[in-house]
Assembly symmetry: C2
Homo-oligomer: 374 residues x 2
Amino acid sequence: MFEEGARLKAIHGADNVFDFSLGNPDIEPPEAFKQQLREVAENPEPGLHAYMPNTGYARTRQAVAEFLTREQETEITENEVIMTCGAAGGLNIILKAVLDPGDEVITPAPYFVEYGFYADNHGGKLVAVPTRPDFTLDIGAIETAVTEKTRAVIINSPNNPTGQVYSEENLRDLGKVLSEKSRAHGRTIYLISDEPYRKIVYDDIRVPSVFSCYADSAVATSYSKDLSVPGERIGFAAVNPAALGKQKLLEAMALANRILGFVNAPALMQRVVTGLQGIHVAIPEYDRKRRLLCDGLAERGYSFTRPAGAFYLFPQAPVKDDVAFVQALQEELILAVPGSGFGAPGYFRLSYCVPDKTITAAMPGFEQAMEKFR
Amino acid sequence: MFEEGARLKAIHGADNVFDFSLGNPDIEPPEAFKQQLREVAENPEPGLHAYMPNTGYARTRQAVAEFLTREQETEITENEVIMTCGAAGGLNIILKAVLDPGDEVITPAPYFVEYGFYADNHGGKLVAVPTRPDFTLDIGAIETAVTEKTRAVIINSPNNPTGQVYSEENLRDLGKVLSEKSRAHGRTIYLISDEPYRKIVYDDIRVPSVFSCYADSAVATSYSKDLSVPGERIGFAAVNPAALGKQKLLEAMALANRILGFVNAPALMQRVVTGLQGIHVAIPEYDRKRRLLCDGLAERGYSFTRPAGAFYLFPQAPVKDDVAFVQALQEELILAVPGSGFGAPGYFRLSYCVPDKTITAAMPGFEQAMEKFR
């Protein structure tokens, strides 16, 4: 998509192409981030860029653990935290640690397309199960999908691509089913929570703690969206202190961090984020864009579930063939991603981490495309 | 080793433990690096920390390609370069791109222990073949080891752990054998050159170009040792412009960079290294340490091949059991790595990227340990 956007912008001019295809934050990092970076760059301690243990700096992990203790409502120490190359790195080290060849990984659809690759990287197989019409977890569907080969369930809340946030009740129900099924099959099913959008939520919604809802759980997340630094590949993975075989799991993850070639999360960025726990970009900025886009599309007859978090909208295409509709949008120089790319045909994804004027200026195009299929 | 070193230092005091176990450069980054970092941090362009194409910034890849054209004596463009999370990231994306399950990857022993994991990550199997007594390539041994399952050969020159640098003749002979065997088996055997120590060579030795010696080749390297920044995970992979199916290979590598969870090399560090092509730490510093260690150990009766590059010495243990000898060294508070960890029992590795005084102060301990086995 990156390259296709660049191509169209080269032909038509950047202002005439409305690129809603990428989750690349357009808000600049918070001042606190820039200041931390300047301070570290101006006063480089000896060994600032050297190797450290594969799990990351103890001081950084302590800061993360302290913050996470509040966020996950569970006492977490630095021993349960591993600094990673973004959430993608975190998910891969968790999957490498828990999967045996042929193991199944369940995820609710629509889902982030990379999960299929991540499972496959480590010999696993992704099994997508439908969500309810409002994109919340369909516990019955997950229960039915569990087999004796199921080793993990990946959830992503706030969700990419739907913007849905799972409620505590929804997560507790999931935890109950996973406990029962783990017992029934005599093997632990891990719940892996991919949470890079946790800080980006609207209308005072609270994202519940996964650790409180299920013991055998792990979190993977990043500072990419909190601090608008996705190119820096800095994040972490954390294991629930109550998880069975926690120590072995953490050791396997640390080894995976090393042998998959990450080695460690980038040193400088570890130092920078240490003092930035809980800091994030101004959410009202994204909220304003969300309202602009939702209101504009609703007026033009689009149907969608209003996102509670993240910066994605996942409307229904006015025709069954979402790829055809995305092509119709592209004729209006609007770039979107077909829902089939997320295991949900009939929908399309719009990222609204774009300038306000991209949203307003694209409205005639959205209207035109809708007209074509009326 | 990292943790064991820390433990012993906590007990005996940092000055009384002689840690030769880690390849963690003790020389600080060059002033030019620090200055570039300050400049980028002080004048952050918009989007400085955003996503870019998975292959990296075009400007960075252009700078790398220009430098590499001279170094590899082959016209290289930015299209043949992918920025990676260090050489480890580079090796993993190359292996992910070329290996099918069950494929064999040959490497001359002693070898960097991670190669076994890297091959295994992607369904491959590492096959170690002996080198000649002076640790140069034994072409006959490699020829014999090639089977119809061989997909790649990984070499590392200057070598970790031996410090050996392969001559142009040695590489040309290897190229000839790989061409013949690729033809005979009707499948390309890739030569993967892991070159993070290329800039660290002594006595005016020139490291020959692998690209000139064999067409189906790729290089993985990093700035970790050039700039003393191993914690930052910044490097690149490059494919020989003459390689068969070059375009497909590069596309597979770019996809691998994304789906293995690296996504892209850290953004800030890509910007920083752009203007630092060919810059490296002062080699005479390492040369002085090399001489100190070699002279000191020679005086005390140790046998070894004098390293031509890198910052490792790989002496013979005075007994067959290298693990026992490393334990004897540890009783003298000297930390080393047994050769068996590199597929070469009977030897041990010393990293001399340590303060001079660590080398001189460890000499009585080296003497004591040697005495025990006389």
